[in-house]
């Protein structure tokens, strides 16, 4: 145990005994960050949370310049970030590839079963007109305006053309699965949008997720990304326990508690940690 203690001390490293958990600027990530923080606290680690930082690029820069210690991440996107040329898509391949591509100084822990994938979504009407999968979407893309985050075209425009032969009439920047995107689809400003599988908006609006038979979007399991020397072993163990307890349904429920029931991420996280004895 003296080892663990010294490990903890070591881990706190540059942050002066502090582990800083960061999150991107959307609900799910914020909830996950709070869960990590709660778990770490229970493991005796001194934690602060810095939620709502923004895009991945900023978050990772922040990890690298030691502003942050841990962030909840997504395997597929993270892998893609570290290795643009990568083509693997299944859960295990992605996780394996990710572990090997994480730059030195950073590390990922166990991935959770819970997944929050990118998914293309259309309204019920559009679906009823015969678009229920990306394969069906492909030939009709010309009819549709797409809405998604600013970086989507760079990442996926070529890919979707290659796999499904889809070229949208127009690609419009909305936001990363936030209210703007949802409103745009609802108003009919756009017909196809990129959301995330745990989004509570999909059910609430009767939107239809398009199947992705060719696995264009890679697996996106929740995984803690951290500074390798930033967290004690006890802390790491706690984070792994979180991953073990997280399922996709559970995650969707947590998100909905915050987004729909307007509970706070902290409360939701505390309840989760308590319920799962972490």
């Amino acid at each position: 145990s003296s080892e663990t203690l010294s490990g903890a001390n070591q881990g706190s490293g540059d942050q002066g005994g502090q582990v800083v958990v960061g999150s991107a600027d959307f609900t799910e990530n914020k909830v996950l960050a709070e869960i990590y923080a709660a778990a770490l606290r229970n493991a005796g680690v001194n934690v602060t949370v810095k939620p709502g930082i923004g895009a991945r690029d900023v978050v990772i820069r922040a990890l690298q310049d030691k502003s942050l210690t841990v962030v909840p991440e997504y395997t597929g996107n993270l892998l893609n970030y570290f290795d643009k040329t990568n083509t693997t898509t299944t859960s295990d391949e992605v996780y394996a590839a990710l572990k090997s591509k994480v730059p030195s100084g950073l590390a990922v822990l166990d991935q959770a079963q819970a997944e929050d994938k990118d998914v293309l979504v259309v309204t019920k009407q559009t679906a009823d007109s015969g678009v229920t999968s990306m394969t069906e979407l492909g030939p009709r893309c010309q009819e549709f305006v797409f809405g998604g985050a600013g970086e989507w075209p760079q990442r996926w425009a070529d890919k979707i053309k290659e796999l499904y032969g889809c070229t949208f009439k127009e690609i419009r920047t909305t936001d990363a699965g936030g209210p703007i995107t949802v409103d745009a689809l609802r108003n009919g400003d756009v017909q196809v949008v990129n959301l995330f599988t745990t989004s509570s908006d999909i059910k609430a609006n009767n939107f239809v997720e398009l199947a992705d038979p060719k696995n264009m979007y890679p697996a996106q399991h929740i995984v803690p990304l951290l500074r390798a020397d930033g967290v004690s072993d006890a802390g790491k163990a706690a984070l792994n326990k979180v991953s073990a307890a997280l399922t996709t349904d559970k995650l969707a429920e947590l998100v909905s508690k915050v987004d729909v029931n307007k509970e706070t991420p902290t409360d939701v996280a505390a309840a989760f940690v308590k319920d799962n004895n972490i």
């Binding site: 960061g22 923004g54 900023v58």
Partner: protein, 222 residues
């Protein structure tokens, strides 16, 4: 209303709001202090060397046209601070506020009655001494007004920092927006306004203390 009370009812939320408020205060006011320290020498230069005027005011104008968000993000790239460091916001707002204050400082110094300055010179003041003990105190009414405008607009500008995660109360806006939850936004807006009003009142009080002499004349209608 209900939703606001519910929102505010949560202890965690209260703590978060308080933290944000404190952050907001120092993010917005520290730059004002720094800017005054910078703007006084700069303003003095434009007052003293009139040919600097066009140039320095021009630069100040251009600085003012740069979107605040851009400065928040560019500053770490330029001065090498950590990307999430509050220093970035402080530095950016310091630049803005300095740009805003240079002119009032110059105007205020210009407005110090020439005969008072001449009298001070004739009594044997050295230039720096004269600046500190005669010209600056007399510039306080105009300068104070500039500081008030600067601090109020800073208090409103800080929230843009929320887009990069360092926005004081502004984080309540992005949070509320992403959750379609007006309560935090409303609370954030109201707190920002209140903060501005309180700070403004305080500045007025400070200014009044420093300018008792200016009101002395009003009593006798001078």
């Amino acid at each position: 209303m209900d939703s606001i009370l519910r929102y505010l009812g949560n202890a965690g939320t209260q703590r978060e709001i308080l933290d944000r408020l404190v952050e907001h205060v120092y993010l917005s006011l520290l730059p004002v202090v720094l800017a005054v320290l910078l703007a006084v020498p700069l303003g003095w230069c434009t007052h003293r060397f009139r040919w600097l005027r066009a140039g320095l005011f021009g630069v100040a104008n251009v600085v003012y046209t740069i979107p605040s968000l851009a400065l928040f993000v560019l500053i770490p790239a330029v001065i090498g601070t950590q990307i999430l460091s509050p220093v970035n916001v402080v530095a950016a707002l310091t630049i803005y506020t300095t740009a805003l204050l240079v002119r009032p400082v110059a105007d205020a110094l210009d407005a110090v009655p020439a005969h008072v300055v001449a009298a001070a010179t004739a009594m044997g003041y050295r230039p720096l001494h004269r600046l500190l003990t005669v010209e600056l105190p007399l510039a306080v009414p105009v300068l104070g007004a500039g500081v008030r405008v600067g601090s109020v607009s800073n208090i409103s500008l800080v929230s843009v920092g929320a887009l990069i995660g360092t926005g004081g109360l502004g984080v309540l806006f992005t949070d509320g927006f992403s959750r379609r939850y007006p309560a935090p936004i409303l609370v954030g807006v109201v707190l920002t306004l209140l903060l501005a009003l309180v700070v403004d009142r305080l500045l007025v009080l400070v200014q009044r203390r420093l300018t008792r002499w200016a009101r002395a004349g009003e009593v006798t209608g001078g």
